[in-house]
Point group: C2
Chain length 204, copies 2
Amino acid sequence: MERGFLLVLSGPSGVGKGRVCDALRQTDADILYSISATTRPIRGGEVDGQNYFFLSEEQFLERIEEDAFLEHAHVHGNRYGTPKDFVLRNIDSGKIVILEIDVQGALQVKRNFPNGVFVFLLPPSMKELKRRITDRGTESEQQISLRMNNAREEMGFIEEYDYAVINDDLDRAVESVLSIIAAERLRVIDGRALIDYLEEEVHD
Amino acid sequence: MERGFLLVLSGPSGVGKGRVCDALRQTDADILYSISATTRPIRGGEVDGQNYFFLSEEQFLERIEEDAFLEHAHVHGNRYGTPKDFVLRNIDSGKIVILEIDVQGALQVKRNFPNGVFVFLLPPSMKELKRRITDRGTESEQQISLRMNNAREEMGFIEEYDYAVINDDLDRAVESVLSIIAAERLRVIDGRALIDYLEEEVHD
């Protein structure tokens, strides 16, 4: 009865997308995670079709030709992409598929699949974002400055998104995403199907 | 920081709009209820500006001229309307204003104020709606049949609405409306304001 959909969770580097996704995993059985395709070699312990769909360069390029990706990118000599069929198959069966992705990727997805639900994860403030990036202790002054510039540029695309969630407190951010999921499940997409359902005699 | 908005809760007669609204009243201090204007005489115990805004026929017609209502109707010789200024003033200050109204009224509101959030409350099934109307024991066979025809006609407008909530269980229906409210508070309306806010040094 309830509709499935793709939820794209995106935002600047350092904002905590991964943590929010990990926490979401603990909550609802009806949430699935999009599995990426990649050309990078499989590592020990990884399972094809579970961690990634592992493809050869040739296979990957063939899929691009077939328009089989919602988005794809070339990173440090390896290709990564979001297979369209996995997403469509699962949302057709009423599932929610979550895709955690950077802003560039999300904008590509939006062009290919505007029916998704696009959530932008924000830091509590730019100052706090800088603190989070700095506290990692792995970045030089210059890298930090570059990351902050990127973050500001990416935030300029916020109006391409449906919702903005401020990640000040992990539990609250997860609660917000769950509210978005609950609400979007109730969105009127196919009124006729809804009416037909109510005219039926028996429901579970 | 979070945006205010008008939430229109509507649906066929007998579906339980009033009960859902009453239960919502118990939950969140930031929810207000739209107060109607009417030309019907004030009754003992009623307070002007609280139960209704009581207006003379002349005042009411003047307001119609001024386009001061989101919707208005003429019922059994009395006029009823939803004053626009009460709604706008409160949503501008970040409040959620709830308007419980029949489908005809909701469609009028939508023409005048498409930025509202429109929620259609549905019965679990048409059979159950008929049972609810019949169980009141106040309606003749013919009246029940008329009500069911009206309900079906009204449900034909469901695609004018943003969300559909099935009122099978009161608590669950209220929970669903609260999720819609929580999600809609996070909707991206003014990205620039959001970014400016994050650039500020200090937040509460």
